[in-house]
Structure formats: C-alpha cells, structure tokens
Amino acid sequence: MTIARTALVATAPSADGTFVMREDEFRLLYDRTSRPLWVYLWRLTRDAHAADDLLQDTYYRFLRTPGRYESERHERNALYRIATTLVRDGLRRGHPVSEALPEDGAGGLAGASDAVHATADRTDVQRALARLRPRDRELLWLAYAEGSSHVEIAASLGLRTGSIKMLLSRARRRMADLLQRRVASPGEPGS
C-alpha cells in the first residue's frame, strides 16, 4: 500500500560542506516552503519582524542539520519542527507574543496594505488565535489552515500521532467558542 520513497529528496552538501544542500537545491526548497512557513510563524508570533528573523533562523538550522528525508513532506515537517521549537524557545525566554492582542489593522503582514486586514472576519480569527494556548494555535493552524495530516502535525510539533485527534478536538472547541462569543457580542465597533 505504502510506496517507499526513500531518497526521493536527494541532496548534496554545499561545496565547502557548510550546509547539507547546494544553493540550487535550497532555492527549490525555499520557493516551495517559505511563504506558508512565514505565515505560520507570523500567526504564532503575530509579529512580522519576528517572523522574518525566525524564517531566516529556521532555514539556517535546517541547512546545518544533517538529515535524510523520504519525501518533500518529510522535509517540510522538519522545517516546521524547527520553526515551532524556535517560537517556543522565544516564548520561554519571555517574548510576550501572546500578551498584546491585535487591534483592527494592526499586526499586519510585511508589505501588505492595511485593507487586507480590515475585514472583521480576519480580525476575529486573529483575536481568537491570540487568545488560544500556543499549542492549540499550532495544532489548528497546521490542521486547517495548512491541511496537514495527523502524522504530519505530530512530526511538526513533536507530539504522538495518536494524541492529535483529541488535542485538535479540544483546541477546535475552544476556538469555536471564541469565534462565536465574538459574533454574539453586540455593538462591537467595526464588526
């Protein structure tokens, strides 16, 4: 049933051996993964500058870490694992990413116009995500925004595959509560 795809992602170390792949291979990986990875980092940190720095750091660590990837999905999971760890380390060091809630139009994407963030729906999503626990944010984003499977989520977050369903269910319940509360609260300006 399962097709073995060993060595599908065949990479050669850079000429001086500094990195685990050559620049042309990195460009392909980067073009495939950088945008969703940046959005993931941004959604976890709600800080475009932090997302920029973490993106750079994630690829650097990936390039320096030897690993064999059976598929592009495996490679991607490894990247998300590094990114998630970096965000969690930042949280542990006291970067207050979950303290300040985004105001309408605030906490925007790098280079994006304010109009992008003006819709009430997206602001509600941002607020709801901001109120969730970090792990719930990670789970929900990977499962629904990115459409990752439970196996992929487990690999990206360092969790057991068997626990994902239950954790997701609880996180989803919490976010649904937050979204519904927001919709139900009358007289919210801008909504």
């Binding site: 500094t18 980067y30 750079q56 994407l109 929900l140 629904y144 459409g147 239950m166 269910s169 989803r172």
Partner: protein, 186 residues
Amino acid sequence: MTRRTPGRVRQLPDTRVARHCNREDDVLAHLIETPHTPLSAPLQAHLGECAGCRDLALVGSALRLDHATALAQVRVPSAGQVWWRAELRARQDAAARATRPITVASGLAAACLLGLLASVAGALAWWVRDWLQDQPLVHALLAPLAGPGTWTAHWSGNATPALAVGALLAVTLLAASAVLAAWREQ
C-alpha cells in the same frame, strides 16, 4: 423525504470537548478540497445536529480563508538573500568556534600568571621581612606602637603561611572560574 446520514457520535468522558464524529473527515475534505462549493444537503443537515462538525466547519473555514488571504499577500526575502545570510552566519559561527579555545587558553594563562604573581609576592614577603628586621630605623619607629619584637614575631609566625594559603586559594578559584567560564561559553 430527505435522507439524513447523521454521523455516529461517540460520547467520551469530557462531553464538552471530546466528541468524535465519523463525518468530520467529510467536512474537512470539503473545506480543503472544495471550499468554494456549497456543502451537500446531507452534510448541511448533519451540521444542524452535530456540534463537533459545526465547530469544525466554523474554525476550519475561518482558518482556511485567513491562510489563503495571508498567503496571497506575504512577501518573503529572496532565496538568494536567505542563503547569503546563512553563509555569513556560518562564517561567524565558525570564527566564534575557532576563538573559543583561545578564550579558554587565555583564561588559564591569566590564572597561571596570577598564581605566579602571588608566589612572587609570597617570596618577596619573606625577603622584605628579613630586610626590615635588619633595619634599626624601622625597629625604632615601630617599637613604641606594638612593643618590642611583637610585629616581626607576628609576621614570621602567622602572616607568611597565611599569605601562601591565600595565594593557593586564589589560584584555585581563578582556575576554577576560568574553566567554568570556558564551559559556559561552549
């Protein structure tokens, strides 16, 4: 008559959060694969009676939309830029690694130098004591303050061994702190 296909809802101990419905996969597949088409009538009907799938539809569609919009707008640095910065950082890391043994060596050298100075100070103390004992002027000056012979006896009896022990302690502490500093840096 509408044919309803309600999913089997398994009630787990935590009734508020732990519902699993076998239609969740259908709802999720719809959200991910055909988000712009309306839900099928049976699935729509199921949402009416299954809170878990309603949560999934609400949260899933909100996150899918948010993701799609963000993805369409995001600007990331070019791959070349990220590669160049990674190379720069690798060089800085390599330079830092190369200087680390030097830091350890200089820490140990400083400890040795201080130990040597302390030993020289100890040896000098003996010599100074002997020299002072030979100076009648010093005897004349200090005699009224401490009583005859007291100061030289005190010095030769206690101070020199104390100085040597102090020097030894200082060297040990310095060497330990140098090793600790080097270990921390690594």
